[in-house]
Amino acid sequence: MTVLIRLENVSKVYPRVHQPWERLRAFGSILLGREPRDGAKVLSDVSLDVLQGQSLGVIGENGAGKSTLLKVLTGVIRPTTGRVEVHAGIAALLELGAGFQPEFSGMDNVRMKAALLGLTSAELDQRLDEILSFADIGEYVHEPVKHYSSGMVVRLAFAVVTASRPEILITDEVLAVGDESFQKKCIRWIERFLEDGGTLLMVSHSMYIVQKLCHRALWLHDGRVEQYGEVFPVTQSYLAWHQSRSAEERRLREEQRGAAGHYRVTGFVFPEHGGGDTARVAMGDDLLVEVTLQSPDGRPPVVHLGVVRIDGTPVYGVTSDSEAVQPVRIDPHHFRFRLRFNQLGLLPGSYHIRALAMDPEGLRVFESRERLFQVNGKSIDVGIVHLPHAWTG
């Protein structure tokens, strides 16, 4: 099989260019024929072959160097070290509206882009109808591109690319912009392009699309090739890595929350009802709730306690600081609140009691916990709460 593109030990360093003197120094070193070497290393030691008919999907996180790699492949940027060989006609659809000039009409931009893709004027005239019908943007083609929606830009750009009949099509995540029907049209076009022996090189975050369209996959991580080979093993190990990493991140986040010591609920019980997580109370009885809060800085925190019916209807809530209640200090970092609801007026049913751990200022809620309790009784009154009343005649 013929090699269409070959990369050998390609590295790319973006020099530091923020200060004028940094630019001048870079200018001097390039003039003397040296590559500016200190800067952000975006790609290191990437080698790969793209064979005819062996479509390649480039995957990896944001900032892994995927787009830079495509730019190197298309010749938009020159690698700092390493070799790039290209033996095929490339059409690239990198960023949205790449190379489109907003001030010019769609038609002018089509001419420009077609010329860039190597179409002669005669070829373009021949294929113009084909381009316009593929883009399907109607009379907008005579309007300046700056008035286009992003979807229309992609339509037009993709239409020109299809007309240039490339041997390799390189796309970044641009197809995600168009609407669904246009995306399908593009996918269909790409599938036919692949059947006819074309080669696709794409960056995508959708493993489904990569698996569907590509034979091989390249997983980039921090500018290095993490894995390169058949599409299924590579995408699967990428997904597995991704999942384990998100799990790890979640664990870390939780650990941090504990260690950084946010205000937390560490105990939440009904002491007079067995001290358990749930309670059964007879209507009209007392209900005692005990909440223990952890305070990282040792200052007495604020608790909010609320009663919610099982369907989510709030019944009543009260905050300790609004009633100037000070908790009992159990140890330097733990504080206990006890709240007694006298002669509970709730009608029979299931309720939650919710405790919110708040900072000493009572401004931020750090944690919310709920406990279930049931009110038993034989009342046939309707509503949520029994209001004290008397019939007077």
Binding site: Y14, P15, V17, P20, R23, L24, A26, F27, I30, L31, G33, P36, K71, T74, G75, V76, I77, R78, V84, E85, V86, H87, A88, G89, I90, A92, L94, E95, A98, G99, Q101, E103, F104, D108, R111, M112, A115, L116, G118, L119, T120, S121, E167
Partner: protein
């Protein structure tokens, strides 16, 4: 089909670039195409008024009037100066294009210079025709000889454009520095006056100004119908060629790095 980076210049693309530049700079105005011929004529009228009526300028020992003497040199100078100035930000002004599509970037400054020259040459011909109609004897027979001179002037502008546009990516101040330098150059070139009007020392110094050579030959050919051939006629083209070659090397050395610095 085989392609090695960076991509080769491509004539079709270059033509599109030039066409685009012309449309952007000249034809987007309300008056459109008419402006192309009108603007130089209006400008000529202004100069005629200012220099013959207010300053009472005359060219000593010459049967040629001041206005034709000025006009013959002024349009090529404008083409040269505008071309270089416009091209100096051809790279930074097309940052969006350079970062996203592969193209041989030297086409951008060259297209800017070429578009400016083409447009100014249209104005030049219009001015020459009007001068003829107003009674100046333009030596049309020498036009074919003036063409290589103008072509060489284009090459000179292109060479400077390559230097300046590449340099501008690294030294952004070029855009500020260049216009006053061009104005200085304009006054250091015998466009508004003839070299004979200068003190001898300054006149000798002026011979080192390459623009003097261009201005002198255009006047000799088109205004006086004289062909002057000497050593200078071989040295000047050779120097311009060497400069263009150096400009090309300079540009190529930096072009692969533009994307990093834009």
């Amino acid at each position: 089909m085989s392609r090695i980076h960076p991509s080769r210049p491509d004539l079709n693309f270059f033509r599109n670039l030039v066409r685009r530049q012309i449309r952007q700079d000249y034809l987007e105005n309300v008056t459109g195409f008419a402006w192309l011929v009108l603007q130089p004529l209006v400008l000529l009228g202004v100069y005629a008024f200012v220099f013959t009526t207010i300053f009472k300028s005359r060219i000593p020992d010459s049967e040629v009037g001041f206005v034709p003497y000025l006009a013959i040199a002024f349009w090529p100078w404008t083409a040269f100066s505008d071309g270089v100035l416009k091209a100096s930000h051809a790279i930074s002004g097309n940052a969006a294009l350079i970062g996203k599509v592969a193209l041989s970037t030297e086409q951008l400054p060259l297209a800017a210079v070429t578009a400016t020259f083409l447009m100014n040459m249209v104005g030049y011909v219009a001015v020459l025709v009007v001068l003829q109609l107003l009674g100046t004897n333009i030596h049309w027979a020498f036009l074919p000889l003036a063409l290589p001179v103008l072509l060489l002037l284009w090459l000179f502008a292109a060479a400077l454009a390559l230097f300046m546009s590449a340099l501008q990516v690294f030294v952004k101040d070029i855009v500020q520095i260049l216009p006053p330098l061009m104005t200085l150059w304009f006054f250091m070139t015998p466009i508004l006056y003839s070299p004979e009007q200068l003190p001898e020392q300054l006149a000798r110094l002026m011979e080192w100004n390459p623009m003097t050579w261009f201005v002198f030959h255009l006047r000799e050919l088109l205004l006086f119908g004289r062909l002057n051939l000497g050593m200078g006629e071989f040295v000047a083209p050779a120097l311009v060629l060497v400069l263009a070659w150096l400009g090309w090397l300079f540009f190529r050395r930096f072009s692969g790095h533009f994307e990093d610095f834009l």
